[in-house]
């Protein structure tokens, strides 16, 4: 197994905080924690390259660091990318997470990292990555690296990955079918009894955390702004050309409204299993208010109504999925030069 390892300036031995501005650099073979990692990965495994970067440099130049790291890794044909472990180091965690996500997406090889649950890199990348729960104590390095090596091997060998508690990674919010011994009613009552007795039990619901989203800046000059309509109410052209699912949608679509002053029910349908769509079917302006927005455009209240509206179906959808849909939409919105969005949600 050929492995590439990423470390920050501290663990890579470049230096402490005063070297946090150090740019990306390359070492042959294993460095620092990599020397612990290499033998744990199995007999045939080698760390073929270690990438080092200062924490500040990595966060301030994230895109350039990612591009450069991918370029350096490309000819090595590595089987696995390992970053960290990062413990509580926030900038390190963010860089490690970003690199792992990029390597998985672009080089199509598994990546693994380790962080304490409070590390900001966890919120950003837990959906996309296996992140071993490192705790906050670097003295546990050997134990943490051992878990990373174990799960890393499984990923490379495409063996089945166990539950978060079994493998030691932070829950990713993935759902998996499982056969269990008792019915939901029995499990529920058992949990309730345990709670009343003050004994330990494990909830089957994961608390979902939403990181705060900064408020986008106010529009200064609305009469010059390009405004776009988006809906998660599932309005699609007749025939649903993008086959947007009515539940747990994995796709979204963008549909032309060029030259139209309102939306007509006979040209649209609703792919959304979560509300009574008859009213919107009768008059789609009740969901995507094209008629009123067109008036605003004609009166010069807004600069331009964008000539497409975006639609998907927001129903029973895992967060990992909806976040991806949102990111994809945001890319299009930026590309199209849209200044403001009105999102209508059912």
């Amino acid at each position: 197994m050929r492995v590439v390892h990423y470390l920050n300036q501290f663990f890579g031995g470049v230096g402490a905080e005063e070297h946090a501005g150090a740019p990306l650099q390359v070492r042959d073979g294993a460095v620092g924690p990599g020397r612990l990692l290499e033998p744990l990965l199995g007999d045939e495994s080698r760390i073929v390259m270690t990438l080092l970067c200062g924490d500040n440099y990595a966060v301030e130049n994230q895109e350039a660091v990612i591009a450069s790291a991918i370029e350096k890794m490309h000819p090595l044909r590595a089987d696995l990318f390992v970053a960290g472990p990062c413990f509580d180091a926030g900038r390190y965690g963010m860089a490690a997470g970003a690199l792992c996500a990029a390597v998985q997406a672009e080089l199509k090889i598994p990546a693994i990292t380790g962080m304490n649950e409070e590390n900001p890199g966890v919120d950003l990348y837990r959906d996309a990555l296996y992140i071993i729960d490192s705790g906050s104590n670097p003295a546990k390095m050997r134990e943490v690296v051992g878990k990373m090596a174990g799960l890393g091997q499984k990923l490379v060998q495409k063996r089945a990955v166990g539950l978060p508690a079994e493998e030691g990674y932070l829950p990713r919010g993935l759902l998996r079918d499982q056969v269990v011994k008792h019915t939901a009613a029995r499990r529920l009552v058992d949990m309730l009894v345990a709670k009343l007795n003050g004994t330990a039990f494990e909830s089957e619901m994961l608390p979902v955390a939403f990181e705060p989203t900064p408020m986008p800046a106010a529009i200064k000059n609305l009469s010059q702004a390009r405004v776009m309509l988006i809906t998660d109410g599932g309005l699609v052209p007749k025939g649903n050309p993008d086959r947007i699912q009515g539940t747990a949608a994995t796709r979204w679509g963008s549909y032309s409204i060029e030259g139209r002053d309102d939306l007509r029910g006979e040209e649209y349908e609703i792919s959304h299993g979560g509300y009574d769509a008859r009213f919107v079917q009768e008059d789609p302006n009740r969901l995507v208010p094209l008629d009123a927005m067109r008036e605003m455009e004609k009166r010069g209240v807004i600069g331009k109504l964008h000539n497409e509206f975006i639609s998907t179906s927001g129903r029973v959808n895992p967060l990992a999925n909806t976040r991806r849909l949102g990111r994809e939409m945001a890319q299009k919105i930026r590309r199209d030069g849209v200044d403001a969005v009105i999102l209508t949600s059912t």
């Binding site: 939403f210 705060p212 989203t213 900064p214 408020m215 986008p216 800046a217 106010a218 529009i219 200064k220 609305l222 702004a225 405004v227 109410g233 509300y275 009574d276 769509a277 008859r278 009213f279 919107v280 009768e282 008059d283 302006n285 009740r286 969901l287 995507v288 208010p289 008629d291 009123a292 927005m293 008036e295 605003m296 209240v301 807004i302 403001a340 969005v341 009105i342 999102l343 209508t344 949600s345 059912t346």
Partner: protein, 61 residues
Amino acid sequence: MVQITSALPIAKMIGSNRVVLGNGIVHVTGDAKLSPEDEKDLRRRLVQKALDALQSGETQK
């Protein structure tokens, strides 16, 4: 961005920054009980509120 929705608790839970209360889950920007003219008036008012919200808060430096 501004969100027009009748599911206010969901908008709050996910931390939506600008929210305009819609006129019902089944017709966020409409009302089947109104005459077409009154319904369009309601929609104009909702859209105007959304546009007002877009201009609220800090402007870009």
